[in-house]
Each structure stands twice: as C-alpha cells, then as structure tokens.
C-alpha cells in the first residue's frame, strides 16, 4: 500500500511570496490532516478534512493560510503571503473511517522563508 505522498519536499521562498503544498493521502482514506511542525516543537494541527468538508480549522491562520480538498482525495495548502515565522515542516496525514485511530504521516515539506 502506498503511503501519504507530499510535494515538494523542500521549498525556499522570500517573505511576502506565495507557496503551495500538495498532499495525496493513502487511497480510500476519508480523513486528511495538515500539521505545522516548527523546529524544536511537536506538530500542530492546522486543518482537518473529512472527505471534502472541513472538520476543524480552528488553528489555521486564515488571513494567510488556505486549504482545499475539492474532490475529497488530494489536498493543497497555500500560504499567501508568507512570513518568516512560517518556516517549518508541513506534514500531511490521513486516516480511514474504518480505522480512525491511526493517522499515517507523509514525509513532509520543509519550508524556509527568507
């Protein structure tokens, strides 16, 4: 079974630029999560989708971050405009409705904002 795919793996941008990350969850997984992991900290949930609906986006900085999962499969997370403090690893995870207890994580996208 293929794991969670993310791209790009690395991205370097200047502040005030825009950036987008892509995630393809494990096939058949209805629930998709985006986490932000700042260096030296644990991951923090940004947004959670179930199919193509948002379940929880309470910690998403909506003035600059947006995410979508239009067809209930892959997802895109966008930052516009980026700030220095957005430098982090962005992790995507997915879980199935049959086994909701386990989230499977992708390798992450490391973003550096200069």
């Amino acid at each position: 079974e293929a794991g969670v795919a993310q791209s790009p793996r690395y991205k370097i941008i200047e502040k005030r630029q825009s950036v987008a990350f892509w995630c393809n969850p494990i096939s058949g997984h209805a629930t998709l999560y985006w986490y932000q992991q700042i260096l030296g900290q644990g991951p923090k949930l940004l947004i959670q989708f179930q199919n193509n609906g948002v379940v929880d986006d309470s910690q998403l900085p909506k003035d600059r971050f947006s995410a979508e999962r239009l067809k209930g499969v892959d997802s895109t997370l966008k930052i516009q405009p980026a700030k220095l403090e957005d430098s982090a690893v962005y992790l995507c995870a997915s879980s199935s409705l049959q086994h909701t207890d386990t989230q499977y994580f992708g390798p992450g996208t490391r973003l550096t904002v200069l």
């Binding site: 209805a30 644990g42 991951p43 959670q48 992790l91 409705l97 207890d101 994580f105």
Partner: protein, 118 residues
C-alpha cells in the same frame, strides 16, 4: 483543551541500557494516547497507541508504554536500546472519535531527543 508535556528535551542512554521517556497529558475524559518516532528527514511513525483495556501496551521495535490514569502519564519504555533508536520521540493525545467516523487531530508534546552512546 488537551495538552501534552514531555519534560525531557534530551535524553542520553548507552547502547544496551534501558530507556524510559516520560509523557504527561491533560484531558477531561478518557484520552487516546500515542507515541510516534521521527528520524531525521523522515515522517512520523506510530510506535504504539492506547485506547482502552490493558494499560500496558506493546508496540513495534520492542517498545512498550504504560497508561497510568492516576498520574496522567503514558511513559514509553524499552528494555535495551539500539543505536538505531536514536531519534525524536513524540507523545500525542487525541480526543474521542466522533460517531460520524473520523478522529480529531492530535495534540503533540514538544518531543524528546534520544541520543545513544556507544
């Protein structure tokens, strides 16, 4: 709101020695508890999880953890560490699953960096 505390930022253990990583959680109801490991450049890998039942849970790679409700703890243990165990370890708590399926996102601790001495 739930929270997780991992009191040790770094731990150094000699290869072959036993290991215990501490985790304390705060949650109003029965929590779902997890331990993940993250090696450099790798994604998070689930080591073990606790939902209910036996408070001593076994995981992969020879790890185990014990849920102690009275102490709000879920410490990770391994009887004999190997050099390949050097990594970052995260404890996480999840809220109860909801009836429509799916589970809330996890709340992670800040992690414990494990260093293995030869």
């Amino acid at each position: 709101a739930q929270s997780v505390t991992q009191p040790d930022i770094h731990i150094t253990v000699s290869e072959g020695a036993s290991l215990e990583l501490r985790c304390n959680y705060s949650y109003g109801a029965t929590p779902y508890l997890f331990w993940y490991v993250q090696s450099p450049g790798q994604g998070l890998q689930l080591l073990l999880k606790y939902f209910s039942g036996d408070t001593l849970v076994q995981g992969i790679k020879g790890f185990e953890a014990e849920f102690k409700r009275s102490q709000s703890s879920f410490n990770l243990r391994k009887p004999s560490v190997h050099w390949s165990d050097a990594a970052e370890y995260f404890c996480a708590v999840g809220a109860k699953m909801y009836s429509g399926g799916g589970a809330d996102g996890l709340t992670f601790g800040k992690g414990t960096h494990l260093i293995i001495q030869p």
